[in-house]
Amino acid sequence: MSEIGRLAVILAFIASCYAVVSIAWGLRTSMAGPLRSGRRAVWVVCGLTLLATVILVQALTSLDFRWRYVAEHTSRDLPMMYRVSSLWAGQEGSLLLWLLILSSYGAAFLWAYRKRLDPFYDAVAMVVAAVMVFFTGLLTFVSSPFRILATAPADGNGLNPLLQDPGMMIHPPILYTGYVGFIIPFAFGIAVLLMNRTGTRWIEEVRRWTLFNWMFLGTGILMGARWAYIELGWGGYWGWDPVENASLMPWLVGTAFLHSVMVEQRRGMLKTWNVALIVLTFELSIFGTFLTRSGVLTSVHSFTESNIGPWFMGFILISSTIAAALILYRKALLESENRLDAVVSREGSFLFNNVLFVALAFATFLGTVFPVVSEAVTGSKISVSAPFFNRVNVPIALALLLLTGAGPVLSWRRATASVLKRNFLIPAFVGLLAAVIGIPLGLHGVYPVLCVFGVAFVASTIVMEFARGIQARKDVSEARGAMSVVSLVQKNKRRYGGYIVHAGMVVIFVGVLGSTVFQKESHGPLRVGEKLAIGPYALTLRGVEEKQVTNAQQTRAVLDVSRGGKSLGQARPAKAMYFKSQQPMTEIALRQTSAEDLYMILGGVNDDGSVSIQAYINPLVSFIWVGGLIMALGTIIALTDRMRLRREEKLGG
């Protein structure tokens, strides 16, 4: 079977090359035949990649240890669902998943535009095919998952215990769906430049694709944070680890793009900037894959150090050079139609939003690669970690939070003093009130107070926008109460979807603030019957139990949990010893409520029979996950708005 898999990938490589050449030829000669043939080749690549993936998954689930990839990442005692997910446990399989998602996007794109006989869309497909050439090439010549061992081992090496978690079943595919999806906006951007495309229709199309990927990327990032929180067992969810940064950077630049593209739609400005942002978002996605998979930077994720690094760097260099050259070549096309009238205006706020988002991405990038940069510049390696990112990124993020409240209610072109007064007087007052209430409750320092102010400020601008909208529709709409909100959102899904996304972000800020400022920690060795007090909680050790699960031996501490003297039942933080890797795995116990998480870690059983327990109270962490859900919901609402697309279709854009 491995030969078939290998052959499928080689054929996919050939088909990708064919698609690029055929479409290029068709575009050059304006012949429909080569264009059609090239589009079909993209479908063929998708089919072949699916075949290759099915073959690899089949080998993984049937534990065919003659396959190197299977022997490296599975073992006999591995539960079935993790055999499937070991498809993305290693580099070769991850690349295959990348290609599968990439070619699926290509196919989905062709399907969505199947009725449009416009060579512009063929050019988009050509760019997608060109990127497929790279990935099929990598899988064929550099990093094949279909290698067969000279002698098959009796059992495989097993899957890294960290990856044996239900979250790991879905986190990477969702993250990749976001990452890889930026291919479509990128391909649109390049195609616009190649075809010298005017009009605005494509901008709305790109916006919608980007919104879709952006939602997946954001959700994937939060799922990664949740996985780290539960699985890594250090009490936190975000450590500014290079791989976390790698997923955050394209999200940040993509977010900048989603905002500035509105300025282009509305006012015909910032065109060069927008194309540059699309390109940058895509390059950062590729860079993210490179960081995760090349092991150039040390992180808990860099379990694969390999030979693909130079290929990725080469790809990034070549593709961004081509993009930059095209932008310069098509300068006339990207000429701005308007000029910025005032600083205090919608455009102005979008501009600053962009400066801040890109700065945030830049600071994150710089911090991530700082050892490399400092060695090149000064000759000595300097490394930065979490304190640097907190110092630099927190104030920028807070400035963005304030803009979230200000931007949407500023008018286009120029905001007058009366508009400012009407829109900001109450929110500013609410913000101040919240800060004043917050300070005696234990808020110390400028940033936490500013954050509380910002959260209340933004939340009240959003509430006011909804209230105003409902008020304005009172005469035309029958709906009352909660239904009036629904009917308002339905009327302008794009706008109110956006507000809901902002509301979700505000909720996330609340969660981050609560869990960083008010976190409590306590630890100690406990004997049976002894108590560990933390905040209002008391943990009483009842005993230690051993339990065997499928592929590991668990040691669990049994704790009676009580809060303010009231019993809340038992918790069982554990250490699992995986038979295969002989590596202990901390399995935390978590008691979640909307107000706070009680996070319990078993350090281990000591020689004298006592048990080391570490506990955290992480307030408001659940807000982070809920905020993510609200953001995804808002994005879906905004995505279902097809009004703008239809209008621009009518205009013949």
């Binding site: 190197r68 490296e72 290698r147 067969i148 061992l149 000279a150 002698t151 090496n157 890294n160 960290l162 067992g233 040390t298 992180s299 808990v300 994720h301 860099s302 379990f303 694969t304 150090e305 000029r339 910025l340 009238d341 005032a342 600083v343 102005g348 501009l351 600053f352 400066v355 700065a359 600071a363 710089l366 700082f370 050892p371 000595s380 390696k381 300097i382 490394s383 930065v384 970690s385 304190p387 640097f388 110092r391 630099v392 104030p395 920028i396 630890h523 100690g524 060795p525 890797s581 590596q583 202990p584 795995m585 901390t586 870690i601 350090g603 281990g604 000591n606 006592s610 080391s612 570490q614």
Partner: protein, 136 residues
């Protein structure tokens, strides 16, 4: 003042503020990133700033007091050794011979690094070896 000029000025102020944050951030939180040998052979360590060190856990040197908790071990790159003390629970993948990254303050007289952060590189890489060659 023209609005264009004003926008440029405001943007410059923002960019300047961020540049300031980055520069002071590096100055105040930057860590000297070294190998064990480089650190061990320093005659005079830099006056300020913490260190980040890559290396392996030397065999037979791990002491772990789980009750405190405090973990101490010698870190090696094959030539030199540096002592590391870390006040915290032992990470899951930690063990003798494992590759680790530590960050913290260095005491030159004691040749000991007081780590505030300890990351163990996942061992799957060298576990994966031992499978032998591919079939021709």
């Amino acid at each position: 003042m023209g609005s264009r000029l004003r926008i440029v000025l405001v943007s410059l102020v923002i960019v300047g503020a961020i540049a300031y944050l980055i520069l002071t951030g590096v100055k105040q939180t930057g860590l000297h990133y070294m190998t064990v040998t480089e650190l061990a052979q320093l005659t005079r360590p830099p006056a300020e700033g913490g260190f980040r060190l890559d290396g392996r856990v030397a065999t037979g040197t791990v002491r772990y007091d789980q009750k405190l908790p405090r973990l101490s071990f010698q870190m090696t790159d094959g030539k030199e050794n540096i002592g590391v003390v870390y006040d915290g629970l032992m990470p899951d993948a930690f063990g003798e011979g494992r590759e680790v990254v530590v960050e913290g303050n260095y005491s030159h007289p004691a040749r000991t690094l007081n780590a505030t952060k300890l990351v163990t590189k996942c061992p799957s890489k060298y576990e994966a070896s031992g499978l032998g060659k591919d079939k021709a």
